[in-house]
Symmetry: C2
Subunit: 218 residues, 2 copies
Amino acid sequence: MNFDDIVARTDLLGGLSPRSLKKVTETQRIRSLPKGGMLFLEGDDGQAIYVLATGSIRLFRSDEDGREAIVHLVRPGEVFAEAVLFDTGRYPVSAQAREDSQVVEIATARVHRLLEDPAFRSDFFSTIMRKLRFLAQQVYVLSSCDVRERLLRFLVGRFGKKNRYRVDLSKKEVAEAIATTPETLSRVLARMEENGELRWEKSEISVADGTWEDLAEE
Amino acid sequence: MNFDDIVARTDLLGGLSPRSLKKVTETQRIRSLPKGGMLFLEGDDGQAIYVLATGSIRLFRSDEDGREAIVHLVRPGEVFAEAVLFDTGRYPVSAQAREDSQVVEIATARVHRLLEDPAFRSDFFSTIMRKLRFLAQQVYVLSSCDVRERLLRFLVGRFGKKNRYRVDLSKKEVAEAIATTPETLSRVLARMEENGELRWEKSEISVADGTWEDLAEE
DNA sequence: GGCCGTCCTTGACTCAGGTCAATTACCGAG
DNA sequence: CTCGGTAATTGACCTGAGTCAAGGACGGCC
């Protein structure tokens, strides 16, 4: 898969006219990151936004004790760091490769030019609004739901309501994503398996039919 | 103060050229809400976005048990419900007047037309990005901070770091805003006063100098 | 004044979930 | 195969904060 295609499939840049798209891709750069490599740090000057091509990136904040809170796990095809296009122009989070990764780097200056295009603009707005709502939902979920429910909502949000998933995430990472600890997740999983609600073996998760029912509609 | 001025002072619509601004205000409607009145309900079809002129509006979600989670307290001069401009077109939250209020109602269709203007667009983006970051911050705070710290962050976020505040909020409302209960807030306040960190008498809050220091920088 | 409703406080109790520590399971590298 | 490191589990323990319930405090308002 070539990098232009990856950019062309993103929510953010996908609906552009070929002509506008070409304007994006003709100045983009590809950067490779080794596992654990930092793409940018919280507070850095934001000269570019990114699309993840291959691998996986985590966006996190850290407090003064060095404890980290994952804000988002970026998946291939996803645009991130677009927040620097406006406001302060500094990255509000740090970005680290969870594995060897390649990202497409697009200069912010170029994007500002592209915003002149109404089609580009509309896609761009939609993406941002979706994130906005996702975060609003997160705020609600974090303050009102227990770990079991957060897990279920995480699965639905990420993969939809199914009976069977194949996941590429470690339990540790899921624990972080739902703002809990591996220990607690482990216990919750054990309890859910006991209740016949859900099983997680290796990278395969199976969910019993009734499990989704008590989940409040979004 | 007239309603056009209020609209002209918002983050979202403030930087517009007089000509564009006129296009907004010439079709806006004013709506008055009694205390407790609902402006819209979660799931309603979003035909308009709003600016709060006078009074106070709370945005909240409710789950099936009728429990509510305040997503945001809207203050005069603030634009809200702009999320319906894109995506589903349905309100993701409910809006209720905390007191007798007046809102300026602007049709979504009109806004879509205005987005053609680059200046309008830029302001609009900035506002949304700021909200995005606010929510990202909220997610972090909710998952990592105890009630004491959430209170302090709430005060900073809303009023800045001062030694003395005059607040127009009931403790109950603050408790909701920081996702806790009035009981817990009351206990935390008692403990903080005991430690000489903070006093809250009537509508006056005084904070000791050292109190801010252990707060991780944003 | 007295009555009522709302806000606030305080106490007693409970519990979800975090922390610390000790195994155990599971690779991947040599 | 063995070794070493990470992931995952499990247990014991603790604590922050929610819940329930009972009073107070502070307005209105008649």
